[in-house]
């Protein structure tokens, strides 16, 4: 009986809470920008950035929003174990297409709250671990990776970035590495 009463109490609270929340949310969505209304509770709805190419993703948007993590975790083993470098759902391709540029017109990394994945993941408070190891900004995605001495890569970098600085190693070459 006690449990029943307690549950009833919580349900009532929830309903009352919703009643308070709904009109405020509705009003905010109708008339004013999300952040300016004093009645909005919680985090504003994420505004999801367009992919760089602005094209259709590898699957319809609704499907991708629910299933992108499954696609990634299934196919990653094909690359690592079976040497398949042309899988349909690769994180490298996600990163290459879903670029968000910062103020300096360079792609922002996962550190930036504007980063494509973070826009939604911050909203739902789900941490993304991918970029502790994986690059969160596209590299010079040539077949087989970056060949720093290739003139082809330089030309591509100059074309894509308008600047061939990105092609150079992050750190100067070390002449001496101790054995």
């Amino acid at each position: 009986m006690n449990i029943g009463l307690a549950s009833f109490g919580w349900v009532t609270l929830l309903v009352v809470g919703l009643l308070i929340l709904l009109p405020a949310d509705f009003a905010a969505a109708q008339s004013t920008p999300p952040n300016s209304s004093p009645f909005v509770l919680g985090v504003p709805k994420p505004i999801i950035p367009q992919a760089a190419k602005g094209l259709q993703c590898i699957a319809p948007t609704d499907f991708m929003r629910k299933n992108h993590m499954k696609l990634l975790s299934h196919d990653r083993d094909k690359t690592v174990k079976l040497g398949d470098r042309e899988i349909k759902a690769s994180l490298k391709d996600c990163v290459a297409c879903h670029v968000v540029n910062g103020a300096d017109n360079q792609p922002v990394t996962y550190e930036d709250p504007k980063y494509f994945c973070r826009v939604c993941h911050d909203y739902v408070a789900v941490k993304v671990d991918c970029f502790e190891c994986h690059a969160s900004v596209p590299g010079i995605t040539m077949k087989g990776g970056l060949n720093q001495k290739s003139s082809e890569a330089e030309a591509l970098a100059a074309y894509v970035l308008g600047d061939d600085k990105k092609l150079k190693p992050d750190k100067p070459d070390k002449a001496e590495l101790k054995p």
Binding site: G139, N147, K178
Partner: protein, 250 residues
Amino acid sequence: MTELTTTKADPVSVSRRTFIGGAAAVATVTLAPGITVVAYGSDGEDKLVKGARWGLLIDVNKCPQSCNACVTACSNEHGWEDTGNPLTDAQWIRKVDIKDMKTGLEQSLPVMCQHCETPPCADVCPTGASFRRGDGIVLVDKHLCIGCRYCMMACPYQARSFIHEPLTGQKPYSPRGKGTVESCTLCVHRVDVGRIPACVEACDGTGNGAMIFGNMNDPESEIAKRIAQYPSTQIRADLGLDPGVRYTNL
């Protein structure tokens, strides 16, 4: 029963590994909608070169002590570097200087993961993260690695490194991160698209030509011809691990 991608005629196939099941094709069983068990079997769905055993042949006579091109190239390719903390810095390849105390002969050779046919790192790995691909390349599946470092203790070549600090600026084709063990991948991202490892490319670039990369199981390949024609040694061959990296004039 599963079978490795290497063919029956392959001189370096491993029966025990074949028995347990190697890294070959993928088989999936759907238990319920959305729940799929993925098992790596043998149905030939992999993109590995059939029957390959990738390896390196290093001519120590052609490797000058002053040259560090292979090490620098690897560091640039994969993004590991010397930060002045030798106890914790990752090192995928190093130049080792040796001296014969009786004759005074000094030699210098690059040492990296030797890509053993029977890798002790894979034997001791508790999660299956450390594994040997069907084509002989020994890798760490960092999604499975828990950073226990048993493999580092098992490796007689000290080829592996543990990442102690958070990293940034990784290369898209070479993911690396804190809490995992890593080592030379034989530039698997290049090999899979038909290119040669960065160290070999750099060695060719210097004109020394001390390193040859190729499929040791392909009798037509340069490396197979060389090792069939001239004597070559493996470091600590007495351990019976059958490394895929061989040295001449050592």
